[in-house]
């Protein structure tokens, strides 16, 4: 394994990301101001700092282990395309959910997911029909059975 690949792989990058999160967390922990202190009183920042210290120690071991025994089977980048598409579609769905309403946003979301999972993509009519059915079924479940008020663009349903 070449030098750059040895370091720039998920096995190392993920614990480094967690280290970064823990650094931000530690800095915020030092900003916690206690309201009252008595004899033997443990400050509200103590446990977060202990957890952060434990995290640093553990991540150090994880990174050390990863460096000594790198996993050769790290996923190729092409394998991440579908999950990335699902993440993008989900983020777009959440952004659209309130302004566009449940029905339209869910219909589009389901159609995109069908496309990603290659479900009935060669039969356009069935593809659309099944997306409509899925959207309608879950509308019925949440709004009909459980009485949840879902956002709508026009009226109460659409």
């Amino acid at each position: 394994m070449s030098g750059s690949r040895r370091f720039f792989r998920p096995g190392i990058l993920f614990p480094l990301f967690l280290v970064l999160l823990t650094v931000i967390y530690t800095a915020a922990a030092f900003d916690i101001r206690t309201q009252f202190t008595g004899d033997g009183e443990v400050s509200p920042r103590t446990v977060p700092l202990l957890a952060a210290a434990c995290m640093y120690f553990t991540l150090l071991i994880v990174i050390f282990q990863e460096m000594r025994h790198p996993h050769e089977e790290d996923e190729p980048e092409s394998g991440l395309l579908r999950p990335l598409l699902v993440i993008a579609a989900t983020a777009a769905y959440i952004v659209m959910f309130r302004p566009v309403g449940y029905s339209l946003s869910t219909l589009l979301f389901v159609m995109v997911l069908f496309r990603i999972f290659e479900f009935n993509t060669r039969k356009p009519l069935i593809f659309i029909l099944q997306a409509v059915i899925v959207t309608a079924i879950f509308y019925g479940l949440f709004a009909g059975i459980f009485g949840v008020r879902l956002p709508a663009l026009i009226g109460d349903v659409i």
Binding site: F14, P15, T34, P48, M55, I94, F109, F142
Partner: protein
Amino acid sequence: MEMFLTLSGGFAALADWKVLAFMISGFLIGTFFGAMPGLTSVLAIALLLPITYTIDVVPALVMCASIFMAGMYAGSITATTINIPGAPSSMMTAIEGNKLMKKGFGANALGHAALGSMIGGSIGAVLLMAFMPLAAELSLLIRTPGKFSLVLFALVVIVIVDKQNIPKGLAATCLGIMLATVGIDVLQPIPRFNFGTETLVEGIDIMPLVIGAFAVSEVLIQAQNWNSSLEQNLAQVKDVKIRRRDFMPPLSEIREIGLFAYIRSALIGYGIGILPGAGGSMAAFVSYAVARSGSKKAKEYGKGSREGIAAAETANNSMCGGAFVPMLMFGIPGDPTTAIVLGVLVINGLQPGPRLLENQADLLAPMLASLFISALVLIPLTLYLLGPYFVRIVSIPKGLLYSSIAVVALVGSYVATYSTFQMFLALIFGVLAFVMRKQNYSTVSLLLGFILGPDLEQYLRRSLSLNDGNPMVFLTNLDSLFFLGLTVFAIYMILFRKSKALPAPS
């Protein structure tokens, strides 16, 4: 006597058509999720969690219990028919069941799995009901330092139980504890880690974490592992023919396995269920290993042993009863499913502990009854009625399935607070859990760290505050000393004692 009356009331509550409908639909959902490879009962209950905001606590808990029992049993269906365990706890069943399937005894193997599940699940539920009052009284004796040591014991066991990945398990647990510290402090009215935003002052809700860690991450994992040719292969499985009459195992085979073997496996499963973090896979594995080591037909193991199926399935269903004990008594979940059930209790304003049994046992009794009825009645009934169609479950198009899961998960996140912020949190935790799972960090440790973190902090600070900051209180207090000793014992048994049996299940 009072407890007996309360439990009777629990069974009576199931006669209400609404509660009964929730139990049966929960059982069918659990069977579906348990049987479908890749889906688990944990995911089913995670998806149900937001719905508990809109229904009463009794049907919600009844439904959770039946999903739990069904999910644990249904893993054996695809394990036997297509050699893909529907749930991790059915790994040992796959080894034996599929061999029988190939020999033409698939229905017989499914029958033995159902019988074992029925006996194990029923014994586990009975033990849970029988010992609950005693456990409640014992738990009243534990004082604050003891509670701290007990939570510490639970967290240590959760981390070391996967001994190949202890540093990663510890990192996941610490991350869970850190996430739990966001929001108002456990003892003082001051916000922590809200980074100047109002939204984080209330803290992070369990729901987006559960939905993200178990539902969104599953959709992402499936998207990455997507293989349309595999789906076509699974679609051909529906041609396998299974007849109803073959499900009933002959009495001679049941006698050969023996009542003692069933009871021993049920006790092993129940005992392992009480251990935090151990779960159904561990129960099935240990019971299978014990049965094999003491069997007169040890040579049959690995080649289609009915005894092996009975041992594994009895234990993993009996585990369901055991896992409820620490959760109901101390708020310490025995496995991820009970961790989410704990979320259901908390969402409904119920605080686990001996007082819950004392004051609100009427709310819990239907759940315990549901656990028992699901095992004793619904498992054999479902097998008889739906058994021939079970194998077709795997032929459901995955694109349709995962798209539906994504919609339920995200809309469910919205339902809790009518806020898209919760949906975003579910997505963020889903991405985090996806990376964690790909890198072998346990998401169960993350969840249990999140749930137990506030208790750990609260009991630590209370104990020290009451004793002038002297940490010796944890060694001078007998109950605390007991749990610290138990922690050391668990570390020795799990990490240092050489196992004579099979290697640990992954």
